[in-house]
Symmetry: C2
Subunit: 356 residues, 2 copies
């Protein structure tokens, strides 16, 4: 069990050793740790290993100049200068919030970026301004469109954070696939099947093989098969990809570069790095703020009190589990699996840091 | 087989007989017919019967004053004055486009409205301006959140239309449930089971009974069950509900009024009528227009040429089927089922119109 502060400090130090400024390092470390706290450990410190290798391969710029390439009163395009995704992502979300302050809503996109951690982190930045926050990002292609056997889309998450008044906020943060890639890895390590409805083999046949992605298989979009609405999951993943990639001038679809160093860069590029999309909507650009916040309290309380299905205790509001996890882990500490601990110790050794 | 023009004219005349102006009637009739042409006949002229009954019950205002209640440079709230949803919806989408022209993007919501037909119609209005169009609406509660057995959300569709250059546009228009309600009705009429993953009984047990909705059952969100990501479908439906309802000051969640005359209005109301959400983003608010349109051509062509899964011929781009249907039916005519023909003949008789 690791205290939050210890992992935050360690992550910051690793990033500083790579060459990032203290400001960039500590802000980015917060996003890694937010993933740990909120129970999305697949986006937590486990990723430091990936970033370390990308850094070693010279594929991460530690001294970026983040700049606005184009803007209108409600929009902007930000160039991430090939650095850690957290840095331009935070910049772009702050910019969206500023624009919303002026004209009601703000919409920014980032190109030339890489993975930015959990999408929800940025969406939630809008909450303290009593704004609705929206975040999307594209990612390396692992998901096949309906009727295809080719990986064309990432797990392309959508996050939406909505402020209430006395109730905690509504925070949805989800991949546009039934499960995330991490579940395959975990099942494969345990030697378990993954179940049907999640993946197909390289020909497009249904499979429950948890190691199918290493055998040329692909993940299925939310919905699973056509009958159960996989074309809707495909639409969602495509919208996220186009908003994040095509609108920003980043790569999109099958051209999104792999964000792990053991995979070479693709031959064809249609833009710069990968892309993100951010939105901020001031609630009082629509209704008097107190009215909207009251409505959200009413919404949340109605849904929390909806009749539970047989075998279930209660209905959850998006963000409930993550918020509970965050409170608990900040108090009790964060559990890391042995493999991650070993990885972090190796990184520590390289940089003459300590990780115990 | 009915010619497009004949049904358009008839629908317009029916609406005029109800008391709508020619402008309102003919513009709304186009939306009914767009549903027929695009293969979404569950939102087509079959609905004239529902609207007729709502009109008879005095629940539709035929002489509305559509007005802006509040606005900022990039947002507006429109009051639909209890009329046919098509009228304020078209107004609000045009307003979003105007705002996008000025500040890059425009975001409008409508309250005090009712069903507006197919969401895609309004999203597609943005295309001729080389803008991305977005439409959402909430609807009467039929869908249970994950872990609940209570109908709290509508089938709450999302439509996104994105312009390309030489390729036809990307047009996604989908309910946030695996299938729409019409499929239950059709299966029930044929005496067929609906299959699993679509609905649950009133306790929350899985069922394949196609008439379960009449027995207190509820529809499941996209994803079906928790294991396959129903909580993501629940998030999507909730986001559409909050954006359309809570942000506009319309009713939301379980308080959305039923849009059929045989169901009484609910006891509790938390806003006015039902709500819609519209967005327009100028593509050149982000990138030079030709660059973006070229990227979309490349996106579409990459996905169209993705490797088909075994047993499938090709990968579809969202909007392909609807566009083909539209071209064919505009040429060949529209088939109506006998029950709809009888309904339309009854309405014709009441209004001293002809429908053969």
């Amino acid at each position: 069990m690791y205290p939050y502060q210890y992992l935050l400090e360690f992550t910051t130090q690793v990033l500083i050793k790579m060459g990032f400024t203290y400001a960039h390092a500590s802000e980015s470390a917060k996003v890694f740790l937010a993933a740990e706290l909120r129970g999305h450990s697949t986006h937590g410190v486990i990723r430091l290993g990936d970033y370390y290798k990308l850094w070693k391969a010279g594929r991460i710029n530690v001294n970026p100049t983040i700049k606005i390439v184009h803007e209108t009163p409600s929009t902007a395009v930000v160039d991430g200068d090939s650095t850690l995704g957290m840095i331009p992502a935070k910049y772009a979300m702050e910019l969206a919030i500023q624009k919303a302050n002026k004209v009601g809503t703000g919409w920014t996109v980032v190109k030339n970026s890489c993975n930015f951690g959990i999408a929800g982190y940025y969406a939630m930045m809008a909450l303290e301004h009593n704004m609705i926050g929206i975040t999307m990002t594209n990612a390396s292609p692992l998901v096949a469109p309906t009727f295809s056997s080719e990986g064309m889309l990432g797990t392309n998450p959508i996050a939406v954070a909505i402020p209430a008044k006395t109730q905690p906020p509504f925070v949805a943060d989800f991949a546009t696939t039934p499960i995330n890639r991490g579940k395959f890895t975990i099942a494969a390590k345990k030697g378990e099947k993954i179940g049907f409805g999640f993946a197909q083999d390289k020909e497009g046949n249904p499979t429950d093989d948890s190691s199918i992605l290493e055998k040329g298989g692909t993940m299925l979009p939310l919905g699973g098969d056509r009958e159960h609405g996989s074309h809707k999951g495909y639409c969602l993943g495509a919208i996220v990809d186009i908003f994040s990639g095509a609108l920003s001038g980043a790569n999109f679809g099958p051209f999104v570069p792999p964000m792990v160093a053991y995979l070479p860069l693709l031959e064809k590029s249609v833009g710069d790095g990968l892309g993100h999309f951010f939105g901020a909507m001031r609630v009082d650009a629509f209704r008097p703020a107190t009215e909207f916040n009251d409505s959200m309290d009413e919404w949340i309380s109605a849904f929390r009190n909806a009749k539970p299905a047989i075998g279930h205790e209660k209905v959850l509001i998006p963000g409930d589990l993550e918020r509970e996890s965050e409170a608990r882990k900040k108090q009790e500490g964060i559990i890391l699996i042995p493999q991650v601990i070993t990885d972090l110790q190796k990184i520590a050794y390289t940089f003459e840091l300590k990780f115990e």
